[in-house]
């Protein structure tokens, strides 16, 4: 049959004379719209519960209007006068009037807290001055200095200038153990207040270690699952999945029962004479407890992707390698292992990302040394109420995970990821 191209017969048309191309496009558009309507509820759900909160979190990390919203006159003075200007009478008047309003509106605590983030010990200055703010009379400079001589401190004015801008990178700086000096230059925190960077490093190291132990423990189990006859592998699969059907809290607390100093493991070892009664090992409420409990909890996330990759690898590959002269170790290393890499990558990435953000297990069994960055984020969320710092820490964690993800994509290729 000869080829008939569109140019030979002119424009293709439908039976009612419309051009076929646009008619097809219309028909396809309609079905696309219908398909979109089907996913709309899920999309809305994800936007409301996931995208918007993350956006708010990222915003909160750089935005805090605790000062600017409640101290409008002082904020205006900072805008009008360049940095370094010695505060004049107008500035003190603005400050005194703002303090009066803030005291009346009961927002001075918020203001004090905001300044206190940058310069500790200043919250009480604001609250105590505000208590007598109603009695402040012009001239305000003298009145304020009489109330507290600290109001003349140029560092205080420098800090107030910094926080008068609601948008600030200072929380990120704090999350990276840095701060600004009076001139706004970025400098490291004093040594004794540096905690976050080392905690980030520890979190990533622990997550890496947990991922590695999960891999070591999970690989043989996944292989067994993939090669056992169906009836045995199903039973084993149930055992692997069993932890999923048990509450996380129950699993974690059961590790407390097992690992504590008077717990099952220590008692058994003492009974067997492996350790003496005085030499009971501290296995919980420290890093070791965090590693053991989290390895156990995250193990299925390693096993399942490995299993799904191993299952379709036919045993003939290893046999072929053996028949070609490879020892069983060489056959495993050169032929079997490379074919499981997509599963190893997927499992490791999954376990690592989950471990990096894990909160409840380290909180329960980690003690002081086993705390991860997420525990500190929770602390700032719930106890210190410095939400902006918590957001900045969380945003850094999110960024670090995304960077890792990107590196993984470059090295292994995300197409090679196989989760199931």
């Amino acid at each position: 049959m000869a080829d008939i191209s569109a140019s030979d017969v002119g424009l293709l048309k439908t039976s009612d004379g419309r051009p076929l191309k646009s008619a097809l496009a219309t028909a396809q558009q309609r079905s696309k719209r219908r398909a979109f309507l089907l996913v709309l509820p899920l999309l809305a759900f994800i936007i409301i519960t996931f995208i918007i909160p993350i956006g708010q979190l990222l915003h909160q990390a750089v935005y805090n209007d605790g000062f600017s919203a409640n101290m409008p006159r002082t904020t205006a003075w900072f805008v009008e006068n360049p940095p370094g200007t010695v505060p004049d009478d107008i500035a003190f008047e603005a400050l005194a009037l703002d303090l009066k309003d803030a005291a009346a509106a009961r927002t001075v605590g918020v203001v004090g807290t905001r300044v206190n983030y940058e310069m500790s010990g200043t919250r009480s200055l604001f609250t105590s001055t505000a208590r007598g703010a109603a009695r402040l009379e012009p001239p305000y400079r003298e009145a304020l200095l009489e109330a507290d001589a600290k109001w003349a401190d140029p560092n205080l004015w420098g800090t107030m200038r910094q926080v008068s801008d609601a948008y600030s990178a200072n929380f990120f700086l704090a999350a990276l153990d840095m701060t600004r000096d009076v001139n706004g230059k970025i400098v490291p925190m004093p040594e004794e207040r540096q905690i976050y960077v080392s905690l980030f490093v520890k979190t990533f190291l622990l997550a890496g270690l947990i991922t590695f132990t999960c891999f070591l423990l999970g690989f043989p189990i996944a292989h067994l699952l993939a090669t056992l006859p169906m009836k045995w592998s199903n039973l084993l699969m149930i055992l692997v999945l069993l932890p999923f059907w048990t509450s996380l809290l129950v699993r974690t607390t059961s590790w407390m029962v097992l690992l504590q100093q008077q717990g099952v493991v220590n008692n058994t070892m003492v009974a067997l004479g492996i350790i003496s009664d005085d030499g009971r090992i501290q296995m919980i409420y420290n890093q070791m407890g965090t590693i053991i409990a989290m390895t156990h909890i995250l193990l299925p996330f390693m096993i399942l992707p490995l299993y799904s990759v191993m299952r379709p690898i036919p045993p003939t590959y290893v046999r072929a390698a053996r028949s070609l002269g490879a020892t069983s170790w060489t056959a495993f290393r050169r032929v079997y292992l490379p074919q499981t890499l997509p599963g190893v990558g997927a499992g490791s990435l999954l376990v690592f990302i989950l471990a990096v953000g894990y909160y409840i297990t380290p909180a329960l069994v980690g003690g002081a040394s086993g705390q991860l960055i997420s525990n500190l984020i929770a602390f700032h969320m719930q106890s210190s109420l410095n939400w902006s710092l918590a957001s900045a820490l969380a945003a850094l964690l999110l960024g670090a995970v995304l960077v890792l993800y990107w590196i993984y994509d470059r090295l292994v290729g995300i197409d090679n990821l196989k989760l199931g």
Binding site: Y317, R319, S323, L324, T330, R334
Partner: protein, 366 residues
């Protein structure tokens, strides 16, 4: 140890295999394979042929008996030390390696240097006309090309013995026939010994020097293709290889190997006795469809002919295939060459059919 055992390149000596310790999958296997021979293990699935191959390759251990390669017992030798090339059913090309890396693998694990390796890989690829494909991945090749690479990989380290486990099973018919000839030619030009497992009798007949027909864990017959086809030893072989008419009856007369068989419907036919010995014994006479004659002038003098009704004639191009009713059975088949002057039969016609006595084999009844 008998004389033949010592000469054999591969020898199975009273080999038994049981997986569950209850039933035997391979029962008392004795088989000698000569150097340079192309031997095919043919049989239905579950007949034990693949188990035999796996025992030879070292992936299964014999429960009993001894397997020898070039005179030495290899029962305890692990697969990677046997130096046997193997082509697997689905090729088993390593998907994460290129074709070249696949072929270099057996040389690499033997510690061969890179330049020697490259030269050998190229030679092996050229041998299967795949010289330009060294950098491809197996997934980028067609089934036939993968098959060639699998073949080249099994041959690249110069094994003396190559095992093939249904290597052509996944190819379409035309390619399969083409590859059959290629494998045969490689075997001849390289002088290697090949043990080939298949359930395709056509493949076995085309390629082999000798065929071992397996059933129920035993070798039913071990013979060159022509013998196997024309002179089957028993009913299983007669039925398994090629198309076959079976007429049940009892042995009426027996002189030497010449037999007269009375069919259930009373007619008497000529046959050659194979594994029947007693007059009056029940037997199954087996006749190939293409050996059935319906023209009296083609028959030897004195041979019996029996009446037949033509039920159906099918035109198949090179041959005409007639289904006849003979001795009460409706599935008697006769094949006629489609020559210029061939008589065309029509359904409903009544004819007489007969055969040379040596073409009808009186076998054990099943």
């Amino acid at each position: 140890m008998s004389e033949s055992h010592r000469d054999a390149f591969v020898a199975f000596d009273r080999v038994q295999k049981s997986y569950d310790g209850v039933s035997l999958v391979v029962k008392d296997l004795n088989l000698d394979i000569a150097k340079g021979e192309f031997l095919t293990m043919l049989g239905p699935s579950g007949s034990g042929k693949t188990t035999c191959l796996m025992m030879l390759a070292g992936f299964e251990t014999a429960t009993n008996g001894e397997i020898r390669l070039d005179g030495t017992n290899i029962n305890a030798v692990p697969p990677h030390k046997r130096g046997i090339g193997m082509v697997f059913q689905n090729y088993a090309l390593f998907p994460h390696m290129t074709v070249g890396e696949n072929l270099a693998f057996p040389l690499e694990v033997r510690g061969m240097g890179k330049s020697d390796r490259d030269a050998k890989v190229q030679r092996a690829l050229d041998m299967v006309q795949m010289g330009a494909f060294a950098n491809r991945r197996p997934a980028q090749l067609s089934g036939g090309q993968q098959q060639r690479i699998a073949l080249a990989r099994a041959l690249v380290f110069d094994p003396k013995l190559v095992l093939m486990d249904e290597p052509l099973g996944a190819l379409d018919k035309q390619l399969r026939e083409h590859m059959q000839f290629e494998i045969k030619h490689l075997h001849e030009s390289l002088g290697i010994t090949v043990v080939y497992v298949t359930h395709d009798q056509g493949e076995a007949l085309t390629m082999s020097d000798r065929i071992a027909v397996f059933n129920d864990g035993r070798i039913q017959q071990l013979a060159p293709p022509a013998d196997l086809y024309e002179r089957p030893d028993n009913s299983f072989v007669a039925g398994f290889i090629g198309e076959n008419n079976k007429l049940p009856g009892t042995l009426e007369e027996l002189t030497g190997d010449k037999a007269l068989v009375r069919l259930a419907t009373g007619e008497v036919i000529d046959a050659t006795a194979v594994n029947v010995t007693q007059k009056g014994q029940a037997t199954l006479v087996s006749i190939r469809p293409e050996r059935v004659e319906f023209k009296p002038e083609m028959m030897p003098p004195g041979a019996h002919m029996i009446g037949a009704d033509v039920l159906e004639v099918i035109y198949m191009g090179d041959i005409l295939r007639a289904r006849l009713r003979v001795a009460g059975s409706d599935d008697f088949v006769m094949k006629m060459r489609n020559t210029q002057g061939q008589t065309r039969l029509a359904p409903g016609q009544q004819i007489k059919v007969g055969w040379h006595p040596q073409d009808a084999r009186a076998l054990d009844p099943v």
